[in-house]
């Protein structure tokens, strides 16, 4: 028996940890990428903010994005709920609110992770030194916690809400990453296929821990192959289709195989993706494809909320 409130908490705790670890991945890879640029003029920090979807908020607070303010915004900012520091703190607070549900070992890990990133930095020098380390630690801890979830929690409804949150969040973030790569990094079609383009695709793969796998299985970088891998692959745990199918599986387990509204929406989405090739996606237009995808994921979020958490109240969703 799982309380709706607890289900909601598990779902969001999982999402916040996944979100923080994705942001850490993006931050780390961008930092590397920008270090490879020959001049500071070529550094690109705006895309990182675009991924979050909170550019407006950013500009109001910081103005034009540059290395320092983007790092501060994404890693430390205590007022921004999607900064790594805030996300981990929220996850910790949620965990404290359901001590009775979270296995003790896992709680201790989430508790420590929530305190890992300081909420503010006094010296600029500090975060240059620490940002790398922190990104790696956050990423590794998130993997550790996720491993604990799969090793320690019985496969009941609670576990599946954790998995549902994790994979929906991941699908969403992977799609945003792709979106940003396609439309903000290379605004000119003429740039496609240049060495810079290759470098960026390669960075994108790296941020998903996919580069080695890609080179081993597909060889040279081509946009079609990268899209195949990131969107349509069924075997890689960060590809969008894999994430969505995993989420769908958890939904069925939560309801003991009974299909409900969220199942139907999500199943339709998976079917649509399974019928597509990378070429279809490029022909359709990446922008349109990702907009539709994100709309569908939002519908799933809303349906989950209405089905399990707040049966009568209609909410804005995620």
């Amino acid at each position: 028996m799982l309380l709706s409130r607890v289900a909601d908490n598990i779902f969001w705790m999982s999402r916040y940890i996944e979100r923080a670890s994705n942001t850490a991945r993006f931050l780390e890879v961008s930092y590397h990428l920008n270090l490879d640029q020959q001049s500071r003029d070529e550094e690109q920090w705006a895309p990182l903010v675009e991924i979050t979807g909170d550019m407006k908020l950013f500009k109001a607070r910081y103005g034009q994005p540059n290395r320092d303010n983007v790092m501060h915004f994404l890693m430390f900012n205590p007022e921004y709920p999607n900064s790594i520091a805030s996300g981990l703190r929220i996850a910790r607070t949620i965990a404290k609110g359901m001590r009775e549900t979270v296995p003790s070992e896992m709680f201790e890990r989430i508790n420590a992770l929530g305190k890992l990133v300081p909420s503010a930095t006094k010296e600029k020098a500090f975060f240059h030194k620490r940002v790398f380390e922190l990104c790696r630690e956050v990423k590794q801890e998130a993997i550790m916690i996720s491993g604990m979830a799969s090793e320690l929690i019985e496969r009941g409804q609670g576990y599946h809400f954790w998995r549902l949150g994790q994979f929906l969040e991941r699908a969403d973030k992977t799609s945003r990453l792709l979106h940003v790569k396609y439309f903000y990094l290379l605004p000119h079609l003429t740039d496609v296929g240049t060495p810079l383009d290759d470098l960026q695709w390669s960075a994108l793969l790296e941020s998903l821990d996919l580069k080695e796998t890609y080179i081993r299985t597909k060889g040279l970088i081509t946009p079609e192959n990268v899209i195949e891998m990131i969107v349509l692959d069924r075997g890689f745990p960060r590809s969008i289709l894999f994430c969505l199918k995993t989420a769908l599986d958890s939904l069925y387990r939560i309801t003991h195989d009974k299909p409900e509204q969220p199942h139907e929406i999500l199943a339709d989405l998976c079917d649509a993706l399974e019928g597509m090739s990378p070429k279809d996606i490029i022909d359709k237009g990446m922008n349109e494809f990702i907009d539709e995808l994100q709309l569908s994921i939002n519908e799933v979020n809303n349906a989950i909320h209405i089905q399990f958490i707040s049966p009568k109240a209609v909410t804005a969703g995620a």
Partner: protein, 485 residues
């Protein structure tokens, strides 16, 4: 590490006699501590506190800004009670809780004890915890106070006295269990040899008791712990108990009354709850009946309780006996209901509502402790000898304005126990809160209970809200450390 220079002073010390010799019950422990190298004990204590932090056993300090989390200070030197001595205390507590339950039931039914002139009628009518809505109710097995935390103190002679009965939502038991876990790690050998009575099965005893008092005819009752939520300072305990007992941990908004039952909102729909161990006060239980703006409880709770479709522990209305004026009459209740003499004495208590007692209290404010009748947590209390003249004068005004709300007691020379202070030991005052689970026909008493210690030098206030800490409490059956076969 040794106890050289440790002074018991004029007080009864829990580990040493007044010649400075370790008591029999404590000699194994004292030897073990003395065999440790300098700094060892301190580092064990530090490690224990780090463990508490990493386990998240912290409470938020109200009003001190975000991120201020503290653990309740833990002292690594356990307090030891001889098993034979404890047996008397245990019998006294069982007797007391039985009588108090009979009293509550009597008050909500025929009030024979008043008709027979043993206690005055104003006693309950003026008690803040009296609920007219509970008149005539029969909670399952006749149990009103399922869980009680009775505070005990010892005087210079080492005699145990009852200081007060916490019958509403006594807290602290999670620290008993946790302190024990820490201590077993620190002194496994001494622990084993001393044959310390176990506390680990408390959650199990608790759950069995809650099943026992479930509404009739339910084979496997669904039990929930009702918490005010994560911002409550005792939240850790609520979650801990729910987890250890295998109960649902619910907040008010997780519950809904479906016209007959109290149900929890789950991902699979509404599920009936049979027994609720509630950690919120009566006045927040049901906005239809009590505080209208309470979000902590659930509409319909009292209706379900009255109709017997849900058991609440402790039962609403139990607070009638959680009053320091009512407390003063417990020895009479024991005599009246059980025909026995009280095994555990009360601290001599002056009821300020009686004219003579009021005058006496006012004349001796510098010697007495004066307490509000219905507060807990050490709030609103005057410790005469420690207060300034101005504080006493101000207090006298409150006292005259509302004498029913006050009692006074002599300032006790509370017993002390050694605590680790940097690199040496100093004596600090302690009290003891045993926990009693009442099942109707019998009770279970947790061996020992929570030892609270006033960490500030000379202080008599042990409440955690006011700088108190805790110690593990060992009831030992093999004080001499005979070879355990």
């Amino acid at each position: 590490m040794n106890f050289e220079g440790y002074e018991t002073d004029i007080f009864f010390d829990e580990l040493f006699d007044n010649q400075g010799q370790a008591r029999d019950s404590a000699s194994l422990l004292v030897n073990a501590i003395e065999s440790l190298s300098d700094g060892d004990l301190q580092s064990r204590q530090d490690a224990s506190e780090r463990t508490m932090h990493s386990m998240g056993i912290t409470f938020n300090v109200y009003g001190s800004g975000e991120g201020t989390e503290r653990t309740i200070p833990f002292d690594i030197v356990p307090r030891i009670i001889d098993g034979n001595e404890w047996d008397v205390v245990e019998a006294g507590l069982k007797q007391r809780i039985k009588a108090v339950n009979r009293f509550i039931d009597d008050i909500y039914h025929d009030r024979k004890i008043i008709a027979d002139g043993v206690v005055p009628e104003w006693l309950f009518t003026s008690s803040k915890g009296y609920l007219p809505q509970c008149q005539g109710l029969n909670p399952p097995k006749g149990v009103w106070a399922h869980v009680t935390g009775t505070d005990l103190v010892r005087d210079e002679a080492g005699t145990f006295f009852v200081l007060e009965d916490n019958l509403r939502v006594p807290s602290g038991v999670s620290y008993v269990l946790l302190n024990r876990t820490l201590m077993k790690r620190n002194f496994p050998e001494v622990f084993h040899q001393s044959q310390v009575r176990r506390v680990v099965d408390y959650p199990d005893q608790f759950m069995k008791m809650l099943h026992h008092v479930a509404p009739e005819g339910i084979e496997r009752p669904t039990v929930a712990v009702l918490t005010p939520g994560v911002y409550n300072s005792a939240y850790f305990e609520h979650a801990f108990l729910a987890q250890q007992m295998g109960a649902l941990l619910v907040e008010g908004h997780d519950l809904v009354y479906d016209g007959k039952y109290i149900c929890a909102r789950t991902v699979g729909g509404l599920v009936r709850i049979d027994v609720i161990y509630r950690r919120i006060d009566d006045e927040f239980l049901d906005p239809d009946v009590f505080q209208e703006d309470s979000y902590l409880g659930c509409r319909g709770m009292m209706k379900a309780f009255r109709e017997g479709t849900v058991t609440l522990a402790n039962a609403p209305g139990t607070g009638v006996a959680d009053d320091k004026v009512v407390y003063a009459f417990v020895p009479q209740m024991i005599k009246y209901y059980l025909g026995e003499e009280a095994l555990l004495p009360n601290v001599p208590t002056h009821l300020c509502c009686e004219k003579e007692a009021l005058e006496y209290t006012l004349d001796n404010l510098d010697k007495l402790v004066v307490k509000p009748a219905s507060e807990s947590g050490g709030y609103g209390m005057l410790i005469g000898p420690k207060a300034s003249q101005k504080e006493r004068d101000d207090f006298a005004k409150d006292l005259r304005a509302d004498p029913r709300n006050y009692i006074s007691q002599p300032t006790l020379a509370l017993s002390r126990a050694p605590v680790l202070v940097d690199d040496h030991f100093e004596g600090r005052h302690v009290d003891l809160r045993p926990f009693i689970l009442h099942r109707g026909e019998d009770s279970y008493v947790l061996p020992g209970g929570l030892t609270r210690v006033a960490l500030k030098k000379g202080s008599l206030v042990v409440n955690s809200s006011q700088g108190g800490g805790t110690k593990d409490t060992w009831v030992v059956d093999n004080p001499a450390g005979m070879e355990v076969v």
